[in-house]
Symmetry: C2
Subunit: 438 residues, 2 copies
């Protein structure tokens, strides 16, 4: 890993944002797929699934049957009891955490007897996108489905691309079964997103689509934002580890490697005030990659791995803010002075027993986090993503008569005549009935 | 207004979603503007402002000076004291309501001494788009700025297109002054959105852009979603009024006209079980439009106005759900049985003294609401739009040793070797130090 100073870093680093031109180019392909699904629905869904994923699939095979889920689940029971135990424990912890996010409707009365408030309603039907291939993670099924269920969403529709033989990953199906997903379809890519947005004969239209995916999935979500709600535009993942000389370099090396093994585009940062730690971590990584070569991790670390030296550890805050990373680990003695100053991060992990992987799987908080520097404005996935907020206004006659003239004056300033009249007519009517002028 | 039955309506009505082709066509123009601003920043900003808004503007004139704001404010003090009084009262009520939306960070400890939680942080810098021309509303300044301020946003950057002489609306400037907006720029359209997303020399880059706008603004927001956060994709407005024979037809007529005067594309629905009310409202509207002709309202009502007859008033719920309107008014005796069943609406107004206009201006809840049927998944603007949620994980040694194996098993099932190792190495280290095996 390259070692540079904080000043060099802050002068030269540009937070990675989605490159416009790259985005615009890929968009044309995605647009065509979306258009086809809009026009031909199931027909297009089958066409693209055959083209990109499974050449032998028939339309009715895109619907995952109860038997397929049972088969996967029983296979896990027989062959992977530890996986099942682990996923049950994760389910429990994730559910416990997310139940603390539940928001309730609230109302209050004014002194003049009006009622004002905010009504919380769960979304009705939600789509969960689960990637296929190398990035097919059963843990992501839990992280997307559990907050939706806790919010009270009635129906979860899961989509995931099948392999060449038309199968879905056994672990994914088992995780879906444990979370109580209502419907599963073997479709992926932009065609899956378009089908969820518009609905087809076999696949019901949803209100919101969440879950990570490749660039085609991300572009289709962005393109259809507004027709349907989406969680965010996901990109490659980041970690920034703030550590001092007290930290175990081997722990840090593995944490950086864990981030790097996800994606050749993943970004990894170690920020430290200890030259010694910097060298040790760098050596440790070389040693580990020599013992166990990993092409993805090597590429990622070579291109996007950085060790940043600071004079004082509190300078790390500026560095972290400029990165706005998905994950921050604090493995240092003065973490108490630091953590509250970190504003732009998806999740903060404190202490040597809080490696990112413990949060990825088992601790309880969500692992679907803002990536690519978007922690500047996006948030971790949660129950708040699966609710709607509706205002309630039940205005009393007293409040109306006391306040309507202000509203009339604002309506007049905005040139909205009938807005003003809709208020005045109520006052006139009261005056008429009571014989009074207000 | 056309009168039809609920059955006819439910069979034939298609919730209006953004038409893909219309969207795709306009997009090319918007993309070009966004690209130019990305490449040339201030230069492009000036070029487009001269082209679309004010041919005589110079770059430094795009920054609104303190003097301009003072001048507008003093003009209002002298000439429009009632407007000032009204906007102050609105400010107070809106602030009071939104303060109830404040969310606090929370943390809890597990029985094994871990700390888990959710940190709430305000966004740092937010952009507010205020339309120019006919739809230039000072009330919208309040509705966008107040929740951001209540959330704790440090800096608000407001943009609004100037007129041909390079001026901004006096009421808008006065409202901005009362809300404490930090910076105001005379730019509008897609170029303003791009400038807010990328930043230029004169205009700082923001984290989120909110506020209504025309189709170019909506498209630019959508295009740049991910580079910056946005509130939602806004479109024409809707109202659905549920009323029985007890309702005053004149009130309803004015409420429908108030919605219709916004936009020829605005949609207005009266849903009633009373044939008599249906005819009376229809007649009343004709009479009022004869007395005070209004082209926008007439067009809107003719094309998008509907009176829907139901047998029983509770059938109105299905109709409302299928529309998912921005506003719902309940002017009927059995409102208590009905309101809680309405799930898909931006705001619900109950009783004859709660016309939409009272909520637009003075009651306190926000008037920036999901439009075009998007209340199915989008929410009213609020403090929640101006915060980020970050997870906190401080895992204890005891919890780690009790749970890490589950995480290892999940990492192995996902083929993430270094994730598993980052957990195992910590256990090995503990074993080594204590001489115990775990």
């Amino acid at each position: 890993m390259r070692i540079i100073t904080a000043n060099e870093f802050l002068t030269n680093f540009q937070a990675r944002t989605i490159l416009l031109d790259e985005f615009f180019e890929q968009e044309e392909k995605v647009k065509e797929i979306v258009r086809q699904v809009y026009l031909e629905r199931d027909e297009a869904l089958l066409k693209y699934t055959r083209l990109f994923d499974c050449p032998v699939c028939e339309l009715d095979e895109l619907v995952v049957s109860e038997e397929e889920i049972d088969l996967a689940y029983r296979w896990c029971e027989e062959n992977e009891p530890d996986f099942l135990k682990a996923i049950r424990k994760a389910y429990e912890n994730i559910k416990e955490f997310h139940e603390k996010q539940i928001e309730k409707s609230w109302f209050y009365n004014t002194s003049n007897g009006s009622t004002l408030g905010q009504i919380i309603t769960p979304l009705k039907r939600v789509g969960i996108y689960v990637p296929g291939g190398r990035a097919s993670y059963p843990s992501t099924v839990l992280m997307c489905v559990i907050p939706a269920k806790v919010a009270g969403v009635e129906e979860i529709v899961m989509v995931s691309p099948p392999d060449r033989q038309g199968r879905l990953n056994k672990y994914i199906l088992t995780a879906a079964r444990i979370c109580g997903v209502e419907k599963i379809f073997k479709v992926g890519g932009a065609q899956a997103i378009a089908a969820l947005a518009f609905g087809t004969k076999i696949l019901p239209k949803v209100d919101k689509i969440v879950g990570p995916g490749n660039i085609y999935v991300a572009l289709a979500k962005k393109l259809l934002f507004g027709v349907v709600d989406i969680d965010s535009v996901a990109g490659p993942s980041e970690i920034a580890i703030i550590a001092d000389e007290s930290a175990n370099p081997r722990f840090i090396a593995f944490d950086l490697l864990a981030q790097a093994e996800h994606d050749p585009l993943a970004r990894t940062f170690l920020i430290t005030n200890s030259n010694q730690l910097a060298s040790k971590v760098s050596e440790e990584i070389q040693k580990l990659l020599f013992e166990e070569p990993n092409e993805v991790a090597s590429k990622s670390l070579e291109k996007y791995g950085l060790i940043i030296l600071v004079e004082e550890l509190n300078q790390a805050i500026n560095v972290v803010e400029s990165i706005s990373p998905e994950h921050v680990e604090l493995i240092c003695k003065n973490w108490e002075e630091l953590w509250a100053n970190i504003k732009s991060a998806g999740a903060i992990f404190i202490g040597e027993f809080s490696p990112e992987a413990i949060g990825d799987y088992i601790a309880g908080p969500n692992h679907v986090l803002p990536t690519q520097g978007t922690a500047r404005f996006f948030s971790v996935l949660g129950v708040h993503d699966f609710i709607r907020r509706t205002s309630l206004i039940k205005y009393s006659k007293t409040d109306f008569l006391e306040n309507y003239k202000h509203a009339v004056n604002l309506a007049r300033a905005e040139g909205l005549h009938f807005h003003a009249k809709s208020l005045e007519v109520r006052n006139e009517n009261v005056s008429k009935r009571t014989g009074q002028t207000f």
